[in-house]
Structure formats: structure tokens, C-alpha cells
Amino acid sequence: MGHGESDIEALLEIRNLHAGIDDIQILKGIDLSIAPGEIHAIMGRNGSGKTTAANIIMGHPDFEVEEGEVLLSGDNLLELEPWERAREGVFLSFQYPQAVPGLQVGNFLRKSVASIRGEEAAKGADFRRELNEAMDTLDIPRSFLSRYVNDGFSGGEKKRFEILQLLLLKPKLAILDETDSGLDIDGIKTVAAGINAAVRGTDSAALIITHYSRILEHVQPDKIHVLIGGQIVATGGPELAMKLEERGYEWLDSKAEAEGIA
């Protein structure tokens, strides 16, 4: 209590991150710091590097870090395999979740909880209660558990399933990559409720990656960063989302051009 923000160790600290794929540089020097309990948003158009940032933090093997650091509670994430990062508390809600035919949702959730939170957390009545509560929060019917992971799911079902995993895996840092895309307003509200339940009132943090400000009306981020051409060109409070909503990204392009980014 009574600590100023600067006294709290950042949960996620990104320093001067340069990264890309297949020799194409996409991120050109990102700095970002998220404290426990905070929700940040990264906004930007297609191709601005938002998804690359998410993949780098989670450890997608196809992406290469050229320079910079990514720290979780002061520990170097870049040395860890993706599953080790998950066990350390990093979670990524995917823009395009992958289907695994034959792998049942219920079985997969239990195995994932066991792997990340420990065998005990995935056992018995407590786990079932937790699972039922999370499914109720997200309006997911019980029959969902016997379906195969993302196999034949609608766009909305895929996104809800990602948030279901978020609620059960209880990460320290949740990255949500375009979780709102393709959802109607009810879907966005449900997903936002899930994000709030996972972060608000906890020491966890979230990084929401999005095109649009709609979801931000329901999760109220503490900070918004605008990504253009692989760099953060503006950071502000919720008012920045309003401004982007009204004026689009054009007014920032000139700024980016002036700084020689875009």
C-alpha cells in the first residue's frame, strides 16, 4: 500500500525489442512496461507488428529476436521454450486458434491446467466447480467439453474457448490477440467480462491487442499504445482510444513519418 507506480517491479518489461521473421524486420525498437494488476492495449492497423509482438512474447519458433529484452518479473523470457513461458505464467489468446481433431476439450483443459498450475489443481470436485463457473461466465454449454479442440468451432466459439482457457490457466500475463475480431456486441461483452474476471482485483496483467476501441469500452485499459511501422508512436489513457475512434490512425501517420518510421 502506498507505493508509487515506479516502486512496483514491472510484471512485463520490454526493452528496445527488435524482431522479425524470415529476415524481415517487423518490430523496430519497442519499449513497454506493465505493472501487476494493469490492463494495457496495443492498437494499430494490420501489418503494424501487433501479432508479431504477441508471438515474440509467447515464443513462436518462427520469429527471431535481433535485439532487446523481454522480462517477466525480472526474468529473461527469451531464453525459455514456449511451454516454459506458459508455466511461468504467460498466456496468449490466439487470433486464429488451431484445431486439433480428436483432442477433447475437457481432456485438453484438464491436461493444460495440470501442466501449468500443477496436477492437484486439475483434480477432483474443486476443478469441476471452477470449470463450471468459468463456463457459466462465458455462456458455454456443458456439451462443449466433449467436442474436439477448435474443430468445427464458429469464430465466436473459438474466442470464448480462448477466454475459458484464460480463466482456468490463471496466468500472470494474458496477451489477447484480436480476441474481439469477428464478435458481435454480446460476444464482446462476454469476452470482456472474462478478461475483467481474470485480471481485475488480482496481481495479473493483460495486454490487449486490437484494431478497434469497442472492446476497450468494456475493459477500461490503464494505458493504450499505438503501434505503427513496428514502433510505439503514442501512449496515453482511455482518451487515446476515443481519439483513434474519431480520427482514425492518419493523424499519427504524419508523426510516424516525421520520426522516420513508416
Binding site: M58, D62, R87, Y96, Q98, V100, G102, L103, V149, Q165
Partner: protein, 470 residues
């Protein structure tokens, strides 16, 4: 124990690859001749008709050319002169595990057979080399008239039934290997289920090859009388040797009107075993025959479980999976012949290839001219895990009646980096992620298995996937 350790190093990941010291009471010299065939029959004190059919089959085998399809290269490398065609290990077939020679009993203990028998089986036969060393059936089934014997005892005790059906579904002239089996067969199961009797829990046969350069030629005959049902399960393993063994079985099923037969195989031979098996059933009116066929091991498997839908309203299902790793070729599939109206068939074939393995689906579905309103559904899926591995599909459909509803789907897929990354981001290592994908791919097959086998098969595949990426 250090000797176990050495064995483990020699066999790698293959868990059933150990061997016992060889301790045989009768062992034939390597090689095949009419004399060998006659001696096998003489040792077993068989009736003359069986000796005669063996000798005829032997000559047919000698004259019959090798198949010119499948893996001709591997087929032509089989050294028939370097195989032992008959080996007796025990004193006879016991009905108490305590009476089975200790080394052999230990082997079946390690494979978990006596334990499974106590928990969930109706009966067990355990074959070691050429003959059954253990055999037992639950008393209540015996009282209901169910006959479950090893084939040699079946011939001795029920000669009339055996004579009627032996070679009736698969004549020895059917193919080169059915001729070989008929000439030198030994062991296997003989089952008769009387009218209306339902055998609730599965009966199991376990086939173990222990000796080097061994030939195992079991012969199985199952007759399910009207309105009866049975589920037969077989498992097979062998030690890993640098020289090859040959397993060539023949299985004949007869489903009388309204009967149900399910025949489940989990074949996990070591990768020095040629597995060349002929399996065929005949389904009379409103009966069902299901082949559930898992091919996880062997050097070369050529096996196409078949059903002849002879009676109106009969149904066939062939659900199979094949896994081909390094030095393995699984040429497997299914055959269904619709001879009568309103018959239905479903074929589901799934194969996974890895480390240069080769998987082939070879299937034939025929619908005869006079068979009206038949339904055929064929699905073949292949999952290829790396660039060195290969998968091919040879589906044949001969539909001579236009009223047939016929569906055929085939897919070939690869494991993508994005799929692996998705699972890894949920806390699963690369090996675990791959095992999840592979087990998911096999799931439609695995859910058909008794739970105990399902667990074992999933573990087996997880083991196969270890260290296979990167």
C-alpha cells in the same frame, strides 16, 4: 538388473523387445518341405483329411508366385529356408498359469496378460511360438455351451465343426500366404458361440514369438451362431532381433443370421517381423462383422481384413490405424463385398508415417449387380510427420448396381508449426504436443477399443513420438 539394461539399449523404445532363453521340447530344422508339413501333422496326430489339405496347400504355396504388388522388394527378400516352421516350448496347454513354464509365464506377466484376464476378460489363450501354452474360459460361458479353445484342441475335440468351416471362407488357393498358413498352421483360436448367447466381456488371444527366425502360423476360426455375439481381441509382440521372423496367420469368421462379431487386433510386432495375414468373414442375414485393426509394429505388414456381405441387411465395419516408423511399411486396408441387398459397410482407415516409414491404404469395395440399396462409406486419412515419410492410397470401387449410395473421402495432412505452437503455449512440451495431435488423429479408432487397450495405445504412441521433432 544389468541384463535388462543391456536389453533395453538394444531394443530402444520398443518395450516388448526382450527375449527369453530358448528352451524347446521340439524344434524343427530351418526350411520348408513336404516332409516338414507331414511331420507337423503327425506330431499333432491329425486326421488324414487335415494332412491331405496341408500337403495340397504346401504344393500350391511352392508353385504360387509372390504377389507383384505391395512391397515386392521386401516380399522377395523373405528367406523361407531360414525360418523355423514349428517349435514346441511347453509340455502342453495349461489352464492354470502356475503350470506354465516359469520363463514363459514371466513373459506373459510382463505383458500384463494374467492381470487383464482377472479384471475384464471372459477367456484367454496365450500362444508362445507355435502352440498355446495357456488357455482358460470363464465357467459360466462354458456352461452356456460357448467353445473357446486353441485351434489344435478345437480340431481334436470338434472335428466335425472344424471340417465343415476350415478353408470355407479362405481357401488355401486364395493367396500365397493363405497356402503357406494352411500347410504349416499351428495354434490360433477356435470359437463357437451357440444361438442367442452373448459373450459380454471380450475374449483375448495373445501371440508371442520368442525365438529367432521363427515362423508363427496361427489359424483362427470363429463361428457365431444365430443371434449371438462375441468380441475377440488379439495382441502380438516379439523380441527385436537383427534377423527376420515371419508371422502369417489366417482368420475365418462366420456370422450366422443376426449374429455380431467384433475382432480387434493390436499388432505391435518388433520391426524385424514380416506380418502377412489373411482375414475374412462371411456375414449372413442381418448380422454384423467388425474388424478393428491396429497395426503399430512389424517390418512389413500386408493385411486387408475382409467381409463378404452375403445375407440381406448385413453390415460390415473395418476401422484401422497404421503407424509406420523407421524401416517399416504398413500396407493395410480393407475389402468388403456386397452380395446382397440392403447391406451396409463403413471403412475408416488412418495412417501415420514418420522417420521414413511408409503407409499405404489398399481397399476394395464391390457391390454386385443384384444387390439393391447398399450403402458404402469409405474414409481414409493420412498424417505425415516429416519429409522422409510416405503415404499412398489405392482405393478401388466396383459398383455394379446403380442404387448404391457410395461415399468416399480421403485426406492427407501434416502437423503444422502453428498447431504445435498453440499446444505448447498451453504448457505442453513439443513431444507432448505432438503426442496430443497424433492421439487425436487416432481417436476415432481408440474410442472403439476397450478402455484398457485405449490407455495402452495412447501411451505407446506417446512413446513413439518422443524426440521426433527438431
Amino acid at each position: 538388473m544389468p541384463s535388462n539394461q543391456v536389453a533395453q539399449e538394444a531394443v530402444g523404445d520398443y518395450k516388448a523387445g526382450w527375449h527369453d532363453p530358448e528352451n524347446s521340447s521340439i524344434r524343427f530344422d530351418f526350411g520348408l518341405s513336404e516332409q516338414v508339413v507331414r511331420e507337423i501333422s503327425a506330431i499333432k496326430e491329425e486326421p488324414q483329411w487335415m494332412t491331405d489339405i496341408r500337403v495340397k496347400a504346401f504344393h500350391h504355396f511352392m508353385e504360387r508366385p509372390m504377389p507383384t504388388w505391395g512391397s515386392t522388394e521386401l516380399l522377395n527378400s523373405i528367406k523361407f529356408d531360414e525360418i523355423c516352421y514349428f517349435l514346441r516350448s511347453g509340455e502342453g496347454t495349461e489352464d492354470d498359469w502356475d503350470d506354465v513354464p516359469e520363463a514363459i509365464r514371466n513373459t506373459f506377466d510382463k505383458l500384463g496378460i494374467p492381470e487383464a484376464e482377472q479384471k475384464w476378460l471372459s477367456g484367454v489363450t496365450a500362444q508362445y511360438e507355435s502352440e498355446a501354452v495357456y488357455h482358460s474360459i470363464r465357467e459360466d460361458l462354458e456352461k452356456q455351451g460357448v467353445i473357446f479353445l486353441d485351434m489344435d484342441s478345437g480340431l481334436r475335440e470338434h472335428e466335425d465343426i472344424v471340417k465343415k468351416y476350415f478353408c470355407s471362407i479362405i481357401p488355401y488357393q486364395d493367396n500365397k500366404f493363405s497356402a503357406l498358413n494352411t500347410a504349416v498352421w499351428s495354434g490360433g483360436s477356435f470359437i463357437y458361440v451357440p444361438k442367442g448367447v452373448h459373450v459380454e466381456m471380450p475374449v483375448q488371444a495373445y501371440f508371442r514369438i520368442n525365438a529367432k527366425n521363427m515362423g508363427q502360423f496361427e489359424r483362427t476360426l470363429i463361428i457365431a451362431d444365430e443371434g449371438s455375439s462375441i468380441h475377440y481381441v488379439e495382441g502380438c509382440t516379439a523380441p527385436t532381433y537383427s534377423t527376420d521372423s515371419l508371422h502369417s496367420a489366417v482368420v475365418e469368421l462366420i456370422a450366422m443370421p443376426g449374429a455380431y462379431i467384433r475382432y480387434t487386433t493390436i499388432q505391435n510386432w518388433s520391426n524385424n517381423v514380416y506380418n502377412l495375414v489373411t482375414k475374412r468373414g462371411i456375414a449372413h442375414e442381418n448380422s454384423t462383422i467388425e474388424w478393428v485393426d491396429g497395426n503399430i509394429g512389424s517390418k512389413l505388414t500386408m493385411k486387408y481384413p475382409a467381409v463378404i456381405l452375403k445375407g440381406e441387411g448385413s453390415h460390415a465395419e473395418v476401422i484401422s490405424v497404421a503407424y509406420a516408423g523407421e524401416g517399416m511399411h504398413q500396407d493395410a486396408g480393407a475389402k468388403v463385398h456386397h452380395l446382397a441387398s440392403n447391406t451396409t459397410s463403413k471403412i475408416l482407415s488412418k495412417s501415420i508415417t514418420k522417420n521414413g516409414g511408409r503407409g499405404s491404404y489398399r481397399g476394395l469395395v464391390s457391390v454386385s449387380k443384384k444387390a439393391e440399396n447398399c450403402k458404402v462409406n469409405v474414409v481414409c486419412d493420412a498424417l505425415i510427420l516429416d519429409e522422409q515419410s510416405q503415404s499412398d492410397t489405392y482405393p478401388t470401387m466396383e459398383i455394379k448396381n446403380p442404387s448404391c449410395r457410395c461415399e468416399h473421402e480421403a485426406s492427407v495432412s501434416k502437423v503444422s508449426d502453428d498447431q504445435l505452437f498453440y499446444l505448447m503455449s498451453r504448457g505442453h512440451s513439443e513431444d507432448e504436443a505432438l503426442a496430443m495431435i497424433v492421439n487425436g488423429f487416432f481417436e476415432p479408432f481408440v474410442r472403439e477399443l476397450p478402455m484398457e487397450y485405449a490407455v495402452e495405445l495412447n501411451q505407446l504412441m506417446a512413446l513413439e513420438m518422443e524426440g521426433s521433432i527438431g
